[in-house]
């Protein structure tokens, strides 16, 4: 067991846990923050995406000992009341189906936009490549990202 201190969504936290426990399970099981989802535990689905010191990472691949002293932002802390441009665009495009992958998609998209304020389709292809949506909401995700950037989306519109 180790004592680890870090910040989550602007609040300081301390936990006594196995230093190898992934951040994902610390958030979900220890801190009760369940917005970050478990999809594979192997870093290949993107469900557990969140921001660590501003970078999008996979919480299932990040042992808590590597989080010490760092700052974590989860879907719950992306904005107050869902007003982040990505969240608003997600609602406007009615992206979600089952919704399970969406916290990860949104955190990945928010990070992508922080790097590319006006991403091209190619930027989106690359930036979102590791986030699976089994319900197949990809085209709406693409459009929502363009919308959040204030850009046009051609996908799904009649040619």
């Amino acid at each position: 067991m180790s004592h680890v201190e870090f910040s989550v969504n602007g609040f300081s936290k301390a936990v006594e846990v196995d230093p190898d426990m992934p951040l994902l399970w610390v958030l979900r099981d220890v801190l009760g923050l369940t917005g970050t989802k478990f999809g594979c535990g192997a870093g290949v689905c993107g469900c557990c995406t969140l921001h660590l010191n501003g970078e999008a990472i996979r919480a299932c691949q990040t042992p808590i000992k590597e989080v010490a002293g760092k700052s974590v932002t989860t879907i719950e802390g992306l904005s107050k009341d869902g007003v982040h441009p990505v969240q608003k665009a997600w609602i406007e495009e009615d992206v979600a189906q089952c919704g399970y992958c969406q916290p990860g998609q949104i955190m990945q998209a928010a990070w992508l936009l922080s790097k590319h304020p006006h991403p091209t389709d190619a930027d989106i292809n690359e930036g979102m490549a590791e986030n699976i949506c089994r319900c197949g909401t990809y085209n709406r995700i693409r459009c929502a990202i363009h919308r959040a950037a204030g850009d046009e989306c051609a996908t799904g519109k009649e040619a």
């Binding site: 609040f11 801190l31 535990g41």
Partner: protein
Amino acid sequence: MSTRRDFVKTTCLSLAFTLPMEPRLRFEMADPIEPGGVLAPSAFLRIDGDGTVTIWANKSEMGQGVRTSLAMAMAEELDADWSKVKVQQASSAAKFGDLGITGGSQSTRSTFTPYRTMGATAREMLISAAAAKWKVDRAVCKAENGFIVHGTKRIAYGELVEAASKLEPPKDPPLKHAKNFRIVGTDVKRLDGPDIVTGRAQFGSDLKLPGMLYASVQRCPVFGGKLKSVDATAAKAVPGVKRIINISSGVAVLADSTWAALNGREALKIQWDEGAHASASTMEIWKGFEARLKTPGKVVRKEGKGTAALGKNAIHARYDCPFLAHATMEPMVGLADVKPDRCDIYAPSQGPGWSMAAIQQITGMKPEQIEVHMPLLGGGFGRRAMADFIVEAVECSKTAGVPVKVQYSREDDIQHDYYRPGTLHQLSGSLDGSGRPHAWHHRFTGPSIAASLKMPWPPEATELSGAADLAYEIPNMQVEWAQSDTPFPVGFWRAVPASFNPFVTESFLDELAHKAGKDPLDFRVALLKKDEKRKVGHDELDPARLRRVIELAAEKAGWKAWRMAKHAKGRGMGIAAHAYLECGTYVAEVAEVEVLKDGRVKVHRVVCAVDCGLAINPLNIRAQMESGIIFGLSAALHGEITLEKGRVAQNGFSDYPMLRLADSPRIEVHIVKSDLPPGGVGEPGLPPIAPAVANAIFAATGKRIRSMPMTPGKILKAAKA
């Protein structure tokens, strides 16, 4: 900068008390009732004094949008103010009646009228209450967007609920004419959207009860195997591990976190009795299928002279479709709280009723002591109709005496599924003098879902759609199905047999069109000329509706112009359709593909035309078509589950890949305007996509791929042949 003092001192054990936990069951409980009374003419509807309308959905939400469309149906007749509508989830409690199963794209069909009727009942009561208050004839009052209106007078529903609740509910409240719909038929965003994008939405995995333990189960890797012995010494020593319990499916490790449970499970030393399937392999299964196809199967459809009419110019082809896992985004999960006299289950389930018998058997309780509560489902696709994850949680909680949540890992989820049956098909067909199909013979074999799950249906009941119900007019037809049991447990997968049969039949139809030298579009349309509806099994086929979607998809895709134009090498367009008779929906899809040098298939564009009768929520219909297409493309291009030494060889998204965003085609969905009763939309988008892609690959390369998934390996091999 944070200081020491800012830190909330917490440990695993004390956390439940120090953190503001989400109130549990946010998906089920309505807000507390404010003074002033409520109107609740049924368990599914409550109107509060502040005008809030709470509607309980009796079908599970797994992304198909049912919570929103059910609420729309009720709010429409109620003439509710949509901004005041909330939706909650019905449990298996007696007051909600039998929830049945959420599957087969049946929810809209089975609930649209009942939900409308409940809304209309409340509307009539509110009108009566207002009329009494104003002392006017109720005929001069009408409902309008959350108010009862008479001339210039208006009164909000909230102010009427107390008086209305004292009235007798009317027996047969009038339902609106479709032309007066104001909510139904419009694009309505899903009600769960805001909770989903903020992380507040509650899925089964997200629930936690006081004192709950987290469980991970080691199951025998070989289907049908049994536990011989377990040495749990090392597992017990893993920090956080609390209990190790033998359950019917294997060994469960209970711990104070998911991580500790997973680690404890790693440390188990287990000996299995692998049973009869210890050396089973897919290769063996396919050999069995080959052998089975040599002799006739059960004739499930015969027209004219059947096979006797084939003649010597018939063409023959063999098609195969693999076993598939569901791979819902949220791995299976179940939470049970078994107390001495009561059992509560919190599980994302498509079929709470189907798990009841098992729960009763384990707990020895009566149905009224058991309640299944349903949070959101992180995908279902048929997998969550099964009860295995519930049974495991109940067994664990009963023994441990505390609430237990059983969480599947992704590996567990892929390796312990109820798989989509693999199938092998033999097709023969011949043309008449004018190039129309004259005879059609389809013999196929695979396991039976009905038999495997011991459903009270004939074994072929779950295997025939897309084969025996083929809509095209062919004078001589014979369709035979032969049961081949395999070690795989099989179950319902999105579109069930229509996930494989249409790939075969719509591809083979294209082969006949090619043989006849005809445009595959014209060839199909010519076989759907008779407009009379006809009975097919329990359902009705309306050939005109199928013809219409085929023509619409082709027109919107620019089919004719494409056929005339020259295209870059490797580009092709294909069309396919399926009449999803069980849920009354007709879909045609045109796929535009590019076959790359390395054998990969890039699907650039899909044009979909759908006739699902009355379109309740066009926004969601488009989403469901997109969803079915992407799901179908994962299967068409990537999906395959194999068995080696009795074990599933795949264990996650690396070897059971899914379509990614970059490979997602542009999708256009066109909805046929219709006043017919609404049909389902969760499954019907899927069946046409694989054959549309296969037909497009043929158009692009002249090579016919008769095996799913259509991998680069198969495509390169075909190119060399």
